[in-house]
């Protein structure tokens, strides 16, 4: 079975390490904040100028001056700090953020990512995504493995305009956890009940299949 959104978020959160500063993109990455493993303390960075993002506010805590990068009302965690957009991107570009998680339309086995534009169809802009993929060393892309028509999104070469070049090393899809090394995808884990054959069939770029590909585990 393909992973649900919640399971994707849960699997992402398994990558969180104690003491990590983390930037979570809009959508599934944001959901990962609900599954921070026990005993692990992380600090969430919101690129509009907040380090130490807390949960959504209660009705009486809503403050229009306190939002996240998805423009949702939020709260601040204990030990939070506030700063300008220039300072925020100094953190990001300076490589101070330990982990970045974001969505994409396509990735390819050269580590390229396309996530911000579908020419003629969707032209909303890249927001902070180009800065994040250029500035971070440790990035996880979350996406569906294939379109609903069965077209692979793990390609030999991205077809859409790129968000970043050669910057992606790890992709978590609803079917598999895949690393990118030396111009190839390496299958690391598969979703429970999903066969290696199915993953291979839906991966357009070159895929290396190790002898053992464990199923993902969830608590």
């Amino acid at each position: 079975m393909a992973l649900t959104r919640e399971q994707l978020a849960q699997r992402v959160a398994q990558e969180f390490q104690d003491g990590y500063y983390i930037n979570l993109g809009i959508g599934i990455p944001t959901l990962a904040a609900n599954y921070i493993p026990e005993g692990v303390e992380v600090m969430l960075q919101s690129e509009n100028g907040l380090l130490g993002m807390g949960p959504f506010p209660r009705e009486d805590e809503v403050d229009p001056d306190l939002i996240n990068a998805g423009k949702q009302t939020v709260t601040m965690a204990r030990g939070a700090a506030l700063f300008s957009s220039a300072d925020s991107f100094a953190m990001i570009r300076g490589g101070h953020v330990d982990l970045t998680v974001l969505g994409a339309f396509e990735v390819d086995c050269q580590g390229n990512i396309a996530s911000y534009m579908i020419p003629g169809k969707l032209i909303k802009g890249m927001g902070g995504a180009m800065d994040l993929v250029a500035g971070a060393d440790n990035i996880i892309v979350t996406m569906t493995h294939a379109s609903k028509h069965g077209e692979s999104k793990l390609l030999r070469e991205c077809t859409l305009p790129l968000t970043g070049r050669g910057c992606i090393k790890r992709v978590l899809t609803d079917l598999a956890l895949v690393d990118i090394e030396d111009g190839r995808f390496i299958l690391r884990e598969r979703a429970p009940g999903v066969s290696v054959e199915e993953i291979a069939r839906l991966t357009a770029g070159e895929l290396v299949i190790p002898e053992v590909v464990p199923e993902m585990t969830f608590r």
Partner: protein
């Protein structure tokens, strides 16, 4: 107005001198920390052919989005322009030119513009449509593109508090692009929720010194929320 006192008496006075085809840099992120009354004043003046530089272009009803109604914006420099049907329509028809700029690059372009730095190298956008036609240079084995600073004829910004000298204090994430926007405008206009007497602010708590501010006005704010998200109990 005398000496270092930056306070002006009306919004009309605050935006005096704004002419057609000027470049205006605006603070704000989404609808958070936007200079909403200064934007309304631009709407009232009917200034046209503007190049607006801001992270977003508001929504259909609020923020910079209201300048689209009478097609006052000729060109928009922004990182994200979703959530606005009018914007999309004018962009698709070619009436509105759009220069999509990565968010961190946009912040740095404003910062550089205010700090007298004409251009800077960044890895952001290398090998993407953003990098097309821009100078590439390699430092320590990595590729960087040359991005030019932005300066405006005007900048408009919103802060929380100010003293009459224009020393500014921002509040929470309403700070965002506002400090850099202020520095990058030839005429920097700031509206605030409260103006206090000089000396009432602790010099250590001032986020942006008044040297960057030309005109200051106190206003009342709607503070609309784009995505009101709450948890139960």
């Amino acid at each position: 107005m005398s000496g270092f006192d930056k306070v002006v008496g009306s919004y009309e006075e605050a935006m005096a001198g704004l002419e057609d085809n000027m470049t205006v840099i605006a603070g704000g992120f989404g609808l958070c920390g936007i200079p909403e009354n200064l934007i309304k004043e631009i709407r009232r003046r009917g200034t046209r052919g503007l190049t607006m530089v801001s992270n977003n272009c508001g929504t259909d009803k609020y923020g910079l989005g209201i300048l689209l109604v009478d097609k006052q914006i000729r060109k928009m420099v922004a990182s994200y322009v979703g959530e606005n049907a009018l914007f999309e329509a004018q962009m698709m028809s070619g009436e509105l030119e759009v220069e999509l700029t990565p968010q961190g690059t946009l912040a740095e372009k404003m910062r550089a513009g205010g700090a007298g730095i004409p251009a800077f190298y960044t890895a952001t956008g290398y090998g993407t449509p953003v990098g097309e036609g821009k100078e590439v240079r390699e430092f320590n084995g990595r590729h960087y593109i040359l991005e030019e600073a932005i300066q405006g004829d005007f900048s408009i910004a919103k802060a929380w508090k100010a003293d009459r000298f224009g020393n500014l204090v921002f509040r929470k994430t309403a700070r965002n692009f506002n400090p850099m926007a202020v520095t990058a405008g030839r005429i920097a206009v700031v509206e605030v929720e409260e103006i206090v007497e000089v000396g009432a602010l602790d010099p250590d708590e001032i986020h942006l010194p008044g040297i960057y501010v030309n005109r200051l006005i106190q206003g009342t704010f709607e503070k609309n929320i784009e995505q009101r998200t709450v948890r139960s109990a």
